[in-house]
C-alpha cells in the first residue's frame, strides 16, 4: 500500500507540482481513503464457471476452423498399395478396394461434441444412495474388525495399531441456490455409429470372406496400430463409446525398470506441455475438458516418508483433463476429477497411454432435488467420511468454494444386467490447505455431495450411527484357538 501511495503522489506532483507542499496532509488522506475499499462482490465461482465456458468456446471455434482438414477416412489412405505415406496401418488385412472410400466426416456420437436429449422424469429408475467414502482409508481410517462365523478373530501383533480419525468439516461459503428438480444425465452408447462404420467396412471386398454377407452388422470395436518407431495403438470401443491409446509395444525398445529419483520427476508445466502436444497431434476432441492438471497425490507420501530412499516414486505421471458438462466440472464419486487421463513417462518425456476419451451423448431426466439447505450443511460437515464413536483423534478441516458440479457413478440395472453411467448434479467443496490435511490421513481433496434427494439417505446415517470399533488384543505367539484340538480324539 505504501508503494501505491507514493506512486499516486508522484503522479499528482507531475500534473500539479504545487501539491508537493501539502504532502503530509495528502498522504494521510490517501491512507484513510485506501482503507475504505468498496466491496465489488467479485465471485470466484462465477469466474471459474465463465472460464470453462470461454475455453470451451475457444476449442469449438478452433475445431470448426480445423474441420475442413480433418477426415476420419483420408482418401490418400486408399492408395496404400502404391506405397504408404500415411503413418496408420489397419490391423485387419485388406486385399483390394473395389472403389475408393469416400472421405468426409461421419456424423454420429464419435464426431465429438456434447449432445443431451431430454427424457421424461425419473427415466433412469431409482437412484442408488451414496455412502461414506471408505475408498481411501489411508492410515487414518481403517476399520480393523474382522468377523468370521459370528466370532471375532484375534489379529496378528504384526499389524500396526490402527488410527481412527474423525474429521470435522466446516465451511463459510454459501451453498448455491437449490432447485426442486435436478437434471440427471445418463451417458448413452450409440450403436448407430457401429452400424455406420460397418457399412463402410462392408464395401471392402476381401477375397477371404465376404463382409457384405454379415447381416445387420455393426462394429463393436476396432484397433489401429502405428507402424513406426515408438508408435501407438488406438483401440475404439464402439459399443461403450471409448477410445484408449497405448504404446505399440512391438515398436518400443524394451524398457528395463530404473527407479526414478525425485529429480527425474518433471515439473508440472513440462508434463502438461507434453500431454497437450500429444492430444493436439492426434486431434483429440478437448472441447468439453478443462485444461490439464497433474495428479500429485503421491507426493504427500514422499514428503512424509521417513526414509525417502525407500519410497517408490512413480516413473509415470498423470495429467488429468477434467470433463465439463453444461459448464460444470465432473468428479468421480469420491472426489477425483473425472476426465481424460494422459500418462507421461518422466524419464523418457513421452506419453505412454491415454484413457478416458469417450463419446458425450447423454439423455437427461428430472429427479427430485434436495432443497433443505440445513440437511446439506449437516452432510457436508461430515465430508462423507466415516464417523467413529471413539475416535483416536479428531481433525478439523475447512471446506472452501462450495459450488456446483456433477458426480459420476455407475448404477447397476438388474433388469438388463448392465451398468449405467450416470452424472448427478452435486455440490462440490474443496478442502482448504489440502497438503497439510492430507498428512493427517485425509485423501479426498474434494467432497462431492449429490443433489438428488433420494441419494442422500445413507449419508445421514453416518452421523446418527457412528461406527463402534470392536476392541482387539494383539495376537500372542500362538493363537488361543490353535491350542485347542480341532477334533475330539477317539477313545
Amino acid at each position: 500500500m505504501e508503494k501505491n501511495i507514493q506512486h499516486i503522489l508522484q503522479e499528482l506532483y507531475a500534473i500539479d507540482p504545487g501539491l508537493k507542499k501539502h504532502e503530509i496532509e495528502i498522504a494521510q488522506v490517501i491512507e484513510a481513503m485506501t482503507r475504505q475499499k468498496p466491496d465489488t462482490k467479485y465471485d470466484e465461482n462465477f469466474a471459474k464457471e465463465l472460464r470453462m465456458r470461454v475455453l470451451e468456446k475457444f476449442s469449438t471455434q478452433h475445431a470448426v476452423a480445423k474441420k475442413e482438414t480433418y477426415s476420419w477416412f483420408r482418401s490418400p489412405w486408399v492408395h496404400t498399395l502404391g506405397g504408404a505415406i500415411a503413418t496408420l496401418a489397419i490391423a485387419v488385412p485388406v486385399v483390394y478396394f473395389s472403389s475408393p472410400l469416400s472421405g468426409g466426416v461421419i456424423e454420429n456420437s464419435f464426431s465429438g461434441g456434447t449432445r443431451i436429449a431430454r427424457a421424461e422424469a425419473n427415466a433412469f429408475g431409482p437412484l442408488q444412495p451414496v455412502s461414506v467414502n471408505t475408498q481411501h482409508e489411508g492410515r487414518g481410517g481403517d476399520a480393523q474388525t474382522m468377523e468370521f462365523g459370528g466370532g471375532v478373530e484375534k489379529m496378528s501383533s504384526l499389524l500396526y495399531e490402527p488410527v481412527y480419525t474423525n474429521y470435522n468439516f466446516s465451511f463459510e461459503s454459501t451453498i448455491p441456490s437449490l432447485s426442486e428438480t435436478v437434471e440427471v444425465l445418463k451417458r448413452e452408447s450409440n450403436n448407430d455409429a457401429g452400424s455406420q462404420y460397418a457399412g463402410v467396412l462392408q464395401r471392402i471386398k476381401m477375397g477371404l470372406f465376404d463382409l457384405g454377407k454379415v447381416n445387420n452388422a455393426y462394429v463393436q470395436s476396432f484397433t489401429l496400430a502405428e507402424d513406426r518407431d515408438r508408435g501407438y495403438v488406438v483401440t475404439v470401443d464402439m459399443v461403450g463409446g471409448y477410445v484408449s491409446i497405448f504404446e505399440n509395444y512391438s515398436k518400443w525398445p524394451v524398457r528395463t525398470f530404473q527407479q526414478p529419483t525425485i529429480s527425474d520427476v518433471l515439473e508440472d508445466e513440462e508434463l502438461i506441455s507434453i500431454a497437450d502436444s500429444f492430444l493436439a497431434e492426434y486431434g483429440i476432441d478437448m472441447r468439453a475438458h478443462a485444461p490439464g492438471t497433474v495428479d500429485s497425490r503421491w507426493r504427500v507420501g514422499y514428503e512424509t516418508a521417513t526414509d525417502k530412499s525407500l519410497f517408490y516414486i512413480p516413473n509415470v505421471q498423470t495429467v488429468v483433463y477434467q470433463l465439463v458438462i453444461n459448464g460444470k466440472p465432473v468428479y468421480e464419486e469420491y472426489g477425483e476429477p473425472m476426465g481424460i487421463r494422459v500418462n507421461v513417462h518422466s524419464q523418457e518425456k513421452r506419453v505412454t497411454s491415454v484413457d478416458g476419451i469417450m463419446t458425450k451423448t447423454f439423455s437427461a431426466s428430472s429427479y427430485v432435488g434436495e432443497t433443505d439447505e440445513n440437511r446439506l450443511r449437516a452432510i457436508l460437515s461430515k465430508g462423507r467420511m466415516p464417523v467413529y464413536a471413539e475416535p483416536t483423534k479428531t481433525v478439523d478441516v475447512v471446506l472452501e468454494n462450495v459450488s456446483e458440479g456433477y458426480m459420476r457413478r455407475w448404477q447397476f440395472d438388474e433388469a438388463t444386467g448392465t451398468s449405467n453411467e450416470i452424472f448427478v448434479p452435486a455440490l462440490i467443496a474443496r478442502v482448504q490447505d489440502f497438503e497439510s490435511v492430507q498428512k493427517e490421513g485425509l485423501w479426498q481433496e474434494t467432497v462431492v455431495i449429490p443433489l438428488a434427494r433420494e441419494m442422500l439417505a445413507e449419508l445421514e446415517k453416518q452421523s446418527e450411527e457412528p461406527i463402534t470399533i470392536m476392541p482387539y488384543e494383539p495376537m500372542s505367539e500362538e493363537a488361543e484357538y490353535m491350542k485347542e484340538p480341532a477334533i475330539e480324539p477317539r477313545g
Binding site: 501539502h22 496532509e25 478452433h62
Partner: protein, 194 residues
C-alpha cells in the same frame, strides 16, 4: 489468479490467436477481475457486471484474430471491448443509471463513522459533476481502474499528451473550487485504492 506485472499478456494473446487455448486462459485469469471491477463501478450491480464480463470475453474470442499489439496492448484492447459492451447495453436497455450518475458515490460504500470523510466524499461527488463527461471518464479510468494514460489513450482513441493535458486542466479547475482534502479524495473516491 489476477493480473501479474511479470506476464507479457500481448505474447499470450498472440499465441491464443494461433490456437493456444491455455494461452487464452492465462489472459483470462489476468483480466477477469479487472474487467469485472470496471463493469461493477459503472453498473453498481453484480449480475450486470457479470453479464458484461461474459460478453467481453466472448467478443474477445470472436475478434481474437484482429488483435494487433502494434495498435494497443491486450489490456487496452479488452477494456475497449468492455467499454463498448457497456455503452451498447446502456443504450439498449436503459438499465443502468445514466452514465454520469454511475460515477456517484455508491450507497453501499462504508464511509465509516467519520462524518468528515462522508462530507468530503459528498463534496467530491459534487465536484466531479462539474467536470465534463469526458474529463470525468479519464479521471475514473485512471483512479478507479488504475489504467495508465497510455492505455486510456488507446481505449478512448486519443493521444497520451492530450489526455494528460485534459487531466491537468480538470484538476486545476477543481482545485480552485474545493479544499485540498476533497481534491485528493476526489482523486481516490471509490477507486481501486479506496
Amino acid at each position: 489468479m489476477f493480473m501479474s506485472e511479470h506476464i507479457n499478456y500481448d505474447e499470450y494473446m498472440l499465441r491464443a490467436a494461433k490456437g493456444d487455448r491455455n494461452a487464452f486462459g492465462v489472459v483470462y485469469d489476468g483480466f477477469v477481475k479487472k474487467i469485472y471491477d470496471y463493469a461493477f463501478f459503472r453498473t453498481r450491480d453484480k449480475q450486470s457486471a457479470e453479464d458484461i464480463v461474459a460478453d467481453t470475453f466472448t467478443k474477445a474470442l470472436e475478434r481474437i484474430s484482429s488483435f494487433d499489439p502494434g495498435k494497443g496492448t491486450t489490456s487496452s484492447w479488452l477494456y475497449r471491448i468492455a467499454r463498448n459492451t457497456l455503452v451498447d447495453e446502456y443504450r439498449k436497455k436503459q438499465k443502468y443509471a445514466s452514465m454520469p450518475e454511475a460515477y456517484d458515490i455508491p450507497d453501499h460504500v462504508d464511509l465509516g463513522s467519520s462524518l468528515d470523510t462522508k462530507e468530503m466524499l459528498m463534496r467530491v461527488q459534487g465536484a466531479l459533476q462539474k467536470l465534463s463527461e469526458k474529463e470525468r471518464e479519464i479521471i475514473i479510468l485512471r483512479v478507479w481502474d488504475e489504467l495508465s494514460y497510455k492505455e486510456i489513450a488507446e481505449i478512448m482513441g486519443k493521444s497520451e499528451a492530450s489526455l494528460k493535458m485534459a487531466t491537468s486542466r480538470a484538476l486545476k479547475s477543481l482545485r480552485s473550487q474545493i479544499p485540498m482534502g476533497i481534491y485528493v479524495c476526489m482523486f481516490l473516491a471509490m477507486s481501486g485504492k479506496v
